[in-house]
């Protein structure tokens, strides 16, 4: 709503009528499109009972979807914890006063942000075993890949978050006698985490979705089990993909809702990222921030 406050004047009576008409016209058009899609799917026999019947049977859920979902959630949860840790570590590393910490941290972050996750996971699974002379389970290939990539993105988000905290906050902390690492730990990182909560959560949503790339190393996650393996048995690949997509959407929406709720709660409790005062120092111009939409 804040956007509308920027853009639009408060509507008068004519504007209200115009908006209503637009609503109806667009709504009807949209409904027509959806109907066409439905009819086409019908024509192609995609709504046929035998394609959907498996989803009324318990084994489909207990043997395919749920085990896959469990692997997905487990890998995502592990990846989230690790990439948050990685993110904080490297964000702080990149803000270090010592170039020999700052530069390597920067190289690592930039590299992993630039390499497609698909390649990363594939390499960890097939290449790293040569380096460590032992197998890498698919689970860890996926989790480590997710951690390196999302951790790097989160590192940048945290860094931007930390830099967006007004200088006054750390000055006040120094002024009561805190050391640099206390200021980081007690003041800057917690505030950056809250300020960046929306970005962090969208990145975690990205991470959850990215577990789907585990198919490349046959990691038995939701997409592998619920679409490929299920449809190998039942020949209903489109129906299965629709169900699995719906599951992803529901879970990710729940995650987003949870984050919004947390965000609102912290705001209600009065936490507000302090406004940048017009200090003459050179904080970066506040740009818009969004997650990086890998797979």
């Amino acid at each position: 709503m804040s956007t509308s406050a920027v853009l639009y004047d408060h509507p008068g009576p004519r504007a209200r009528v115009r908006n209503a008409v637009l609503s109806v016209v667009f709504g009807v058009g949209l409904a027509a499109l959806l109907w066409w899609v439905y009819a086409k799917f019908d024509q192609a026999g995609q709504w046929e009972g035998n394609l959907w019947k498996p989803f009324a049977e318990a084994p489909t859920w207990t043997q395919f979807i749920w085990p896959g979902l469990r692997q997905t959630l487990f890998a995502a949860a592990t990846g989230m914890v690790l990439s948050l840790a990685f993110g904080i570590l490297f964000a702080v590393g990149r803000l270090s006063d010592h170039w020999w910490v700052r530069v390597p941290a920067g190289v690592v972050v930039e590299f992993f942000r630039a390499v497609p996750l698909l390649l990363m996971i594939f390499f960890i699974f097939y290449g790293v075993p040569f380096l460590i002379q032992g197998p890498v389970p698919a689970f860890w290939a996926v989790v480590i890949g997710l951690t390196l990539y999302n951790g790097s993105v989160l590192a940048e988000a945290f860094r931007a978050g930390i830099r967006s905290i007004p200088g006054g906050q750390s000055e006040a902390a120094y002024a009561v006698g805190m050391r640099k690492n206390q200021v980081m730990r007690l003041i800057l990182v917690p505030q950056a985490a809250r300020a960046m909560l929306p970005v962090i959560v969208s990145q975690l949503v990205v991470l959850l979705k990215d577990t789907a790339l585990g198919y490349i190393v046959a990691f038995p996650e939701l997409l592998q089990r619920g679409v490929n393996d299920l449809s190998a048995n039942r020949g209903n690949v489109v129906a299965a993909a629709i169900v699995v997509a719906a599951i992803y959407i529901v879970i990710n929406s729940l995650l987003t809702t949870l984050a919004n709720w947390l965000d609102r709660r912290t705001r209600r409790r009065g936490f507000r990222v302090p406004k940048q005062t017009a200090a003459p120092d050179s904080t970066p111009a506040g740009g818009a921030t969004v997650a990086e939409p890998q797979g």
């Binding site: 007004p166 006054g168 906050q169 000055e171 006040a172 902390a173 120094y174 002024a175 009561v176 006698g177 805190m178 050391r179 206390q182 007690l186 003041i187 917690p190 505030q191 809250r194 409790r269 009065g270 936490f271 507000r272 990222v273 302090p274 005062t277």
Partner: protein
């Protein structure tokens, strides 16, 4: 009110921001229990002066001594020094993610290693002293500006500082809240706290300060008791400045 050797001594301090000479050979000494008000036009270096005293800004040349020892350059010693010099900012700078009470106890617990319970008790007493004990569990954003600034003063006092620095503590406040903050500061002054106060509140300067210092272009232009300064500013710059802020 000055007793014994001075607490804060600046001697020939120079500071540049790039090509800008922000502090130009500033020498100043503040005795124990003394209240010094610093005034001057915007950009004259008042904030910078204030901030060099607890080394939030390093200086390029000259020396600053606090309580007999030169300011340490870094590390533990610097942190200890800072904990002995309270600082209050124009924009309050309360820790936005902590409650008022946590703001006040954070320093004692994390820096001084006090027991949380003890710090809490003393914190509440301090909040009571500045008149906002009932706001202890709120977050900064839930308080009015005046209340936030009083909390910031309590936070500084919690470290039991030997001196307090105020950088325009009331200029971000709605006019009807200025009074409550000045009241707290006046009572501190009366209790013998050593204070360096950058402010435009001439009322406060008149009745609470021992000395008024006028700065312009990084230089310390006048240094006189308030009565003398206001009645009879010696420099043109000071006269001009006073005429600007006193007439409207």
């Amino acid at each position: 009110m000055t007793t014994g050797e001075p607490l804060i001594v600046l001697d020939g301090v120079n500071k540049w921001f790039g090509p800008l000479h922000v502090l130009d050979d500033v020498s100043l000494s503040v005795g124990r229990g003394e209240v010094v008000v610093v005034i001057g036009p915007s950009g004259s270096g008042k904030s910078t002066l204030c901030r060099t005293i607890n080394r939030l800004e390093p200086i390029n040349s000259g020396t600053i001594t606090f309580d007999g020892t030169p300011l340490p350059a870094e590390g533990k010693a610097l942190a200890r020094l800072r904990s002995e010099v309270g600082m209050v900012f124009q924009s309050f700078n309360l820790f936005a993610h902590k409650t008022i009470l946590e703001n006040v106890t954070l320093g004692p617990v994390k820096v001084r290693g006090e027991k949380p319970a003890a710090a809490r008790e003393r914190g509440l007493a301090l909040l009571d002293r500045v008149g906002i004990a009932n706001q202890a569990d709120k977050y900064p954003a839930q308080l009015s500006g005046g209340q936030q600034q009083r909390a910031a003063i309590a936070r500084a006092l919690a470290m039991q500082p030997k001196a307090m620095l105020f950088d325009e503590p009331t200029s971000a406040l709605d006019p009807e809240m200025v009074g409550e903050v000045l009241d707290v500061m006046t009572s501190l002054a009366r209790d013998g706290m050593t204070m360096v106060v950058v402010t435009h509140e001439m009322g406060f300067a008149r009745h609470a300060a021992n000395r008024v210092i006028f700065m312009a272009d990084g230089r310390l232009v006048e240094d006189a008791p308030p009565a003398e300064f206001f009645a009879n500013p010696r420099s043109e710059r000071a006269k001009d400045f006073l005429s600007k802020i006193l007439t409207h």
